[in-house]
């Protein structure tokens, strides 16, 4: 029995040792199984485009804790959209939604775990992420991006000998970014900090949660929401390619949003919208 116990212990230890060269045996069983295709779980009664809080309709019903200044920007966005414009939603001309809006998961998501990095792949506009789990410190200078710079740490919250939660912090942003398509704004100072806890449902391994807290100067307090995704059951799920520029009729000229008609001409999107200035053309438009 003693000999068998020794061999058993050596076998478990072997699962964690470096096998050869400069690559270590990657024991996937240490991590939760996040493989496959994840989709946002629809909520009955919540219609329209999804919001930051997926349990509420986007826009005013989100009850975002906005500062007075951010509220004015938001109301101006809604008014512009009412008149036919795009308001504060930058994605119509294929700018990335950025964080935290990426985690709305407009299109299916794949999570690829390696020891050094968790990759989050989402089609849609430009929604991929890298979450560094290699123990690095925050760099002195972060190149700002829409997705931000994310550092994560796996934790074993139950002491089960297996990781179950990924805690992530994301900083280093550029903008403009909005919480949803109605243009609920994040601050133009881009000093957002986002904290996430990503974990499987203990009762159902095909449900994934992302508890997100956004700290931003457009808000009067941190804003926390619980995102919920379901795993597709197909063994070989279909990953449809989404290319924002393909078939996108929106055009922005001089800060004005226009639309390309089916016959390729420029159309206004708002009543009495001025035509673009053609001063650089020798002959004017028809």
């Amino acid at each position: 029995m003693r000999y068998r116990d020794l061999i058993g212990a050596l076998v478990l230890a072997a699962a964690f040792v470096a096998a050869a060269g400069d690559a270590a045996a990657f024991d996937e069983s240490k991590y939760p199984n996040l493989k496959g295709q994840w989709r946002r779980v629809p909520v009955p009664g919540v219609v329209g485009q999804p919001g930051y809080d997926q349990y509420k309709i986007q826009g005013r019903t989100q009850q975002a804790p906005l500062t007075p200044e951010a509220t004015k920007i938001f109301e101006a966005s809604l008014a512009d959209q009412e008149a036919g414009g795009q308001g504060g939603d930058p994605t119509y001309i294929c700018r990335s939604p950025g964080m935290p809006r990426i985690m709305t998961v407009y299109d299916p998501m794949e999570i690829v775990i390696t020891p050094e990095t968790v990759h989050v792949f989402i089609e849609h506009v430009h929604d991929n992420r890298r979450i560094y789990t290699d123990g690095r410190d925050w760099p002195k200078l972060i190149e700002p991006t829409f997705a931000g710079y994310s550092i994560g740490r796996w934790t074993d919250s139950k002491g089960a000998g297996r990781y179950d939660t990924l805690a992530v912090e994301t900083r280093g942003f550029k903008g403009p970014r909005a919480f949803d398509a109605t243009g609920i704004p994040l601050s133009s100072d881009n000093q957002t900090v986002i904290r996430e806890r990503i974990f499987l449902d203990p009762a159902d391994p095909n449900i994934l949660y992302d508890d997100i807290t956004t700290i931003d100067h457009s808000l009067t307090r941190p804003w926390s929401v619980a995102k919920k995704y379901g795993r597709a059951q197909a063994k070989q799920p279909l990953w449809e390619e989404t290319n924002c520029a393909e078939g996108n009729g929106h055009v922005e000229i001089g800060g004005q949003g226009y639309f390309r008609s089916a016959d390729g001409r420029l159309m206004p999107t708002k009543k009495d919208q001025p035509a673009p200035d053609l001063r650089y053309f020798k002959q004017g438009g028809k």
Binding site: L10, G21, D22, F26, E28, A147, E241, L266, Q283
Partner: protein, 287 residues
């Protein structure tokens, strides 16, 4: 001694064993180390944008074996570009480069190797993540279409060393338009391209990666093979630049014409004598 050998063998076996439902110990030592950031090696071709054959300058000097019809298309495209247009280079409107242009690595590349799939990430125009399925699957009855195509790969141990050293890939299932490089060297509009790749580390230098790509396409008179090389960035924490084509892209396409948005926000022509856009939908423009 016999006990130590037995224990050693069991340890190696354990590195491959099933340890929990749905997940298993993945011995990435079986695979070549492709971690890090890969930068396309530009051979000394006299500048310009990266080319499909990196040993030749982009454009006509690629000596692409084009059919007469596609040579004529290519020449017309070059003429349009010389006059200020974009020709058949669809990426100017932020359409993805797709295969094979994505492997020109205009931006740095990352390769993620897992048992079921190898992912190739290149953030240029589109935030590409090629999925090369290595799970032994067969070609689907209907291959999904995309600019990146649908890729199935197989790892091979060419030396019998017990470690994989070569990834062979076949990619089909395309949409377009696609070109080989920014000169607009066109692939056939029927999108029936097939790509075969051999991806392997340099035998003498593990920080050089090679991709031998053979394209079969109806725009060509014969299969076209090129040899690509990438160099691993020595930085332990390389910077990954985010490339958002829609951000700061001054090119504006209206109808079949490409214009430019000037620094003052006004529309500008891109070639001599270019007509202004039709503004018949704007009542104010009719004054």
């Amino acid at each position: 001694m016999l006990a130590r050998s037995t224990i050693g063998a069991m340890a190696v076996a354990a590195a491959m064993a099933w340890t929990a439902p749905g997940a298993f110990a993945f011995d990435d030592a079986q695979y070549p180390n492709l971690k890090g950031q890969w930068i396309g090696v530009r051979q000394n071709t006299g500048g310009g944008q990266p080319s499909f054959d990196p040993y030749k300058k982009w454009g006509t000097t690629q000596d692409a074996p084009l059919t007469p019809e596609y040579r004529a298309l290519f020449e017309a495209n070059l003429k349009e570009q010389a006059e200020g247009g974009q020709g058949t280079n669809a990426t100017s409107t932020c359409l993805p480069p797709g295969m094979p242009m994505v492997m020109n690595a205009h931006s740095p590349m990352e390769i993620i190797v897992l048992p079921e799939a190898t992912y190739i990430r290149v953030d240029h125009i589109r935030d590409t993540r090629r999925r090369i399925y290595t799970d032994g699957r067969s070609w689907p009855a209907e291959v999904p279409e995309g600019f990146d195509g649908y890729s199935i790969g197989q790892w091979i141990d060419t030396k019998g060393s017990g470690h994989y050293d070569l990834l062979e890939v076949e990619t089909r299932g395309f949409k377009g338009p696609r070109s080989y490089d920014a000169s607009g060297l066109p692939l056939h509009r029927d999108n029936q391209s097939v790509f075969r790749e051999r991806i392997y580390l340099d035998a003498a230098n593990p920080n050089l990666l090679h991709d031998d790509i053979t394209v079969t396409d109806h725009g060509l008179t014969e299969p076209w093979t090129v040899h690509k090389t990438y160099r691993r960035n020595a930085q332990p924490q390389p910077i990954w630049i985010e490339y958002i084509c829609g951000e700061g892209n001054r090119l504006v396409r209206i109808g079949n014409e490409n214009y430019m948005e000037g620094a003052d926000g006004n529309l500008m022509p891109t070639r001599k004598g270019q007509p202004a856009p039709d503004l018949s939908f704007f009542p104010s423009a009719k004054k």
